[in-house]
Amino acid sequence: MAETQASQDDVLATAAQWRDAGRGVALATVVSTWGSSPRPVGSQLVVDDQSRFLGSVSGGCVEGAVVAEALQVIADGTPRRLDYGVSHEEAWDVGLACGGKISIFVEKLE
């Protein structure tokens, strides 16, 4: 398949490989969307403890903020639910200007 984005399987396999290599790893998953959002519910992003990431939860709008939260999740092991949307003041700061809202669940790979 001629897809430039990482597939669901790429993200999962990479999560396992990074963990095998001894890195701290977190998985971020889109669990809800409202209005227009560039990536569907179920989309995933894998992040390691050096801020490297693969996959996509928003087509680039909020990945930076999600990676920063993921580092916290890797550090303390507590899963978090993150909400981004135009109703939030910080929405413009993180760049979700597409007019939608998304909810993302971030968990550590143990």
Binding site: M1, A16, L27, V31, G42, E107, K108, L109, E110
Partner: protein, 233 residues
């Protein structure tokens, strides 16, 4: 996510079986629902079992309310597949279009002259008879089958096999008159009217398509419509 659960999910992907990953949003507790067993938290799996089957059937991951509080159910289905019977001009256009739309494409044609490698770069090509090919490929509820040869010797065995399968879409190229003759042959072969109604013929949405590429657009559009109408039902 526990590593053992991720490994079980990766194994399900490799085995091409559907898997639903259930996550309790309050604390990240998880269960993996597979066709014949459950891994992880059994109570959580039981609470989400019904919703998980619906999520998998429609391929629509979603957050749902359960006795265990809000849970997210993610769907990990086998890839969409498209079997094209007939290595014809329409197939040459439809195969790459369907690949871009996320389908694993297999072109089936027993006529060797049609299946020279250079005509279908990067696409799986099978030179078996369609009934043999479909017996091997086993079309499931994530598979579309389209016959494009116009030749009953090749199309009909493919339609027999497709009608006996779970394929979510069956299409057959040919004019209204050709299709009527086809339905008559299928009836003689013992297929009921209701069974034959699964066949989309003439194939494709009615968008005035003329060239092979335009017909390919019409066919892929109709497959997409059936895929998602099924999901909305």
């Amino acid at each position: 996510m526990k590593r053992a659960l991720l490994d079980a999910l990766l194994a399900a992907r490799a085995d091409k079986v559907p898997a639903a990953l259930v996550t309790r949003l309050a604390d990240g507790e998880q269960a993996l629902i597979l066709p014949n067993n459950v891994q992880g938290n059994a109570e959580l799996a039981a609470a989400a079992q019904e919703a998980a089957q619906s999520v998998l059937r429609h391929d629509r991951p979603s957050t749902i309310e359960t006795a265990e509080g809000p849970v997210f159910v993610n769907a990990f289905n086998p890839a969409l597949r498209l079997v094209l019977v007939g290595a014809v001009h329409i197939s040459q256009a439809l195969a790459p279009m369907a690949s871009l739309a996320g389908y694993q494409v297999c072109v089936v044609d027993p006529r060797r002259a049609f299946t020279a490698d250079h005509r279908f770069p990067g696409v799986e090509v099978a030179t078996e008879w369609p009934d043999d090919a479909l017996a091997r490929l086993v079309p499931d509820h994530r598979t579309a089958v389209v016959t494009l040869t116009h030749d009953p010797k090749i199309d009909d065995p493919a339609l027999h096999a497709a009608l006996k399968s779970e394929a979510f879409y069956i299409g057959s190229l040919g004019s209204t008159r050709t299709h009527a003759a086809r339905l008559k042959r299928l009836a003689q072969a013992g297929f009921s009217e209701a069974e034959c109604a699964r066949i989309h013929g003439p194939v494709g949405l009615s968008i005035g398509a003329k060239s092979p590429a335009e017909i390919a657009v019409a066919v892929l559009a109709q497959i997409t419509q059936v895929l998602h109408d099924g999901a909305a039902a």
